[in-house]
């Protein structure tokens, strides 16, 4: 193989290694950014919605208590604002089904909330209610707690998945970085190897040729640079040997 090709192949391999490391790094970073995106859109949105649903339920429970204590208009207003917040948050959660069995959790929340809503709707319609506190503790508050538990289940599901995903994210981040790290170390070793070969197969033979020519011109010793490769340097050695031979003949 010619010297030019050998040197070119060395550089091409070095460049190839860096390009592939770069491409793989980009691919892994892309995966990483997609994972972050999906983490935010899939799980974080459902977690936010669950938190809002919990807030809405708390509001409705407070509104019921106010209503029962006689602050009917204030109570009614708080219950309705809680209900609208619940509606919006529930829709967000229902339209963001990303995990396995998440629809079962959503259905349970819907069913439980409907029952809860049914209870306080009757309260708002009936102006007077006998044994109000017993009704609150026996029916309304227990249903409120039940709905809250269902919402919390949805929250825990998404938090658990988010935790798992964050673990995978750190793994992905490592995988995005490692080709670069390996490429740096490999390029360093490769550069040393390349330098060694250049020195061994090109620089040293040239130095040997120069030394032998100097020896020949000063002491007329035999010319033999002991070139091992079959490239241009061997041709140069042969050409010089021929030249010396012809010079000797004349």
């Amino acid at each position: 193989m010619k010297i030019r090709l050998k040197i070119l192949s060395g550089f091409l391999l070095l460049v190839g290694m860096l390009i592939i490391a770069g491409v793989l790094g980009i691919v892994e970073y892309n995966k990483l950014s997609k994972s972050v995106e999906s983490l935010l859109s899939d799980n974080y949105r459902s977690i936010e919605a669950s938190m809002a649903m919990l807030e809405a339920l708390e509001r409705e429970d407070s509104g019921i208590l106010l209503f029962l204590m006689g602050h009917k208009s204030e109570g009614s207003e708080i219950i309705k604002s809680g209900d609208s917040l619940m509606k919006v948050s529930f829709d967000v959660a229902r339209n963001n089904l990303t995990e396995q069995n998440e629809n079962i959790y959503i259905d349970s929340i819907e069913k439980s909330y409907d029952e809860f809503k049914n209870l306080w709707s009757k309260l708002l319609v009936s102006q007077e209610m006998n044994d109000q506190m017993n009704w609150y503790f026996d029916q309304s508050h227990s249903k409120f707690l039940e709905t809250k538990r269902q919402v919390r289940n949805l929250l825990v599901l998404n938090q658990a998945v988010m935790y798992d995903e964050s673990f995978h994210l750190s793994e992905n981040a490592r995988r995005a970085v490692m080709p670069g790290v390996v490429a740096i170390v490999a390029a360093l070793v490769f550069a040393l190897l390349f330098n060694f070969f250049i020195n061994y197969y090109f620089v040293s033979p040239i130095n040997r040729i120069i030394k032998r020519i100097q020896n020949f011109t000063s002491a007329e010793s035999n010319f033999d640079a002991q070139i091992e490769t079959k490239d241009e340097l061997r041709k140069l050695e042969d050409a010089i040997r021929n030249l010396i031979y012809k010079l000797k003949r004349h």
Binding site: M17, L24, E171, M178, P179, A186, F197, Y201
Partner: protein
Amino acid sequence: MRIPIVIRQIGLVLVINALFLFISFLISWINNESSTVALLYATFITLLFGLFPLVFVPGSSYLSTLEGISIVVFGWIATCLTGTLPYVIWGGEFTFVNAWFESVSGFTTTGSSILADVEYLTSGLLFWRSSTHWIGGVGVIVFALLILPPSATSHLVLLNAEISGLAKQNFRSRSKQIVRILALVYIGLTLSETLLLWIFGMSFFDAINHAFATIATGGFSTKNLSIAAYQSVAIEVIIMLFMLFSGIHFGLIYATFTGSKDNIFRSPIVKYYLLVMVAGIFLVTLKLYYSDFGSLAHSLRYAAFQVISVGTTTGFATIDTAMWPFFTILVLIYFTIQCACVGSTSGGLKFDRVFIFFRSIGRQIKLIQHPRGVFQTRVGKKIVTEEIENQTHMFILLYLFIVFIVTLALTAYNIDLLTSFSASVTTIGNVGPGFGGVSSLGNFGQLPDGAKLILSVNMLLGRLEIMSILSLFFIKSWR
């Protein structure tokens, strides 16, 4: 020494590694696994370092002994380094030290692992892990010779550097034929075992991985519970049979199948090797039975598997031996030190040396009784030369000295004595599992990084039979 020639030969070995990395990449890619990129990049880097010297350095038909030994020692180091690449890039439990330990353990066919959860690995990485066993089983350089055709003289020098003199004695052939015999027996055994395991209920993927690990006497499994995961007597029997085969000189196996005279049935070494193995199984079975371990059949089943597994340096497990009586542990430690026959894929001290050692004790006793008598140490009808006898004694002494030094070094890390000693013995013998904290179903992950590095050097020393590595450090005597 011509350093470029050494680098060129190491390059050839790396090309073989790249081939197996590529197959692992394909498995990972087909299954759409997280290790695809890691395996692809590792393939590329390994191929690059393998091919580049082939472009630059012209081939040479002649190799000096120093060049041969350098190729073997640095070839193993380079192979183990490239073996760490997919692990390090992929991550999981693999830090650099963990990846290096797993890679060295794989190539030296030790089978000790740092992994707490093997089943978390992707199938691509599991295949690569088993491939390291298969490449290292006959020796990474000999494996390269199986595939690549260097000249006859380089064959001889490389074989001499990687295979012990004792092992070459039973090969009644020239170096090129030795390589051919090794290839035939190695591939033949692997294919047969894969087929049998597949027929008896393993998935094809598990069958090929376990066949790689058995024939190379490695011990890496694709399951956390090793062979215990299958709970199948048939699978256990098949693996026991192939472990036994893999612990016998490959030249004798070849001779048996080709109908030659010097076969397994006529070899005194194989006869005594099997006798000692049977005695070990008998002792362990009885002790287990009388320790209320279970029925006699139950005790025999587990005793036979563990004794053969340890005695052939494979290291598979069907039970956690850490819970066994101390007597049985000591019997297993004896087998961890003794190991299997020379010329097989097993590592460690080797049964042949132990046999010669006991025979020369007999000769010494006769010399004391009859000071003017002339006695010779014999293995069957063959006379063991004084040179081989001395080499054997020196090797055993050196081996035990290294076991002591490594145990000492491990106890410096405050590791308990049983764990330190068994880890030292099991890694230099390339067995795999030890006792105490590193028992059959345990792992080496909890050891400090320094201890893992010491043990990985121990594995390489055991695999290369100590002398070739040591000889490189005596640079002056090469001049």
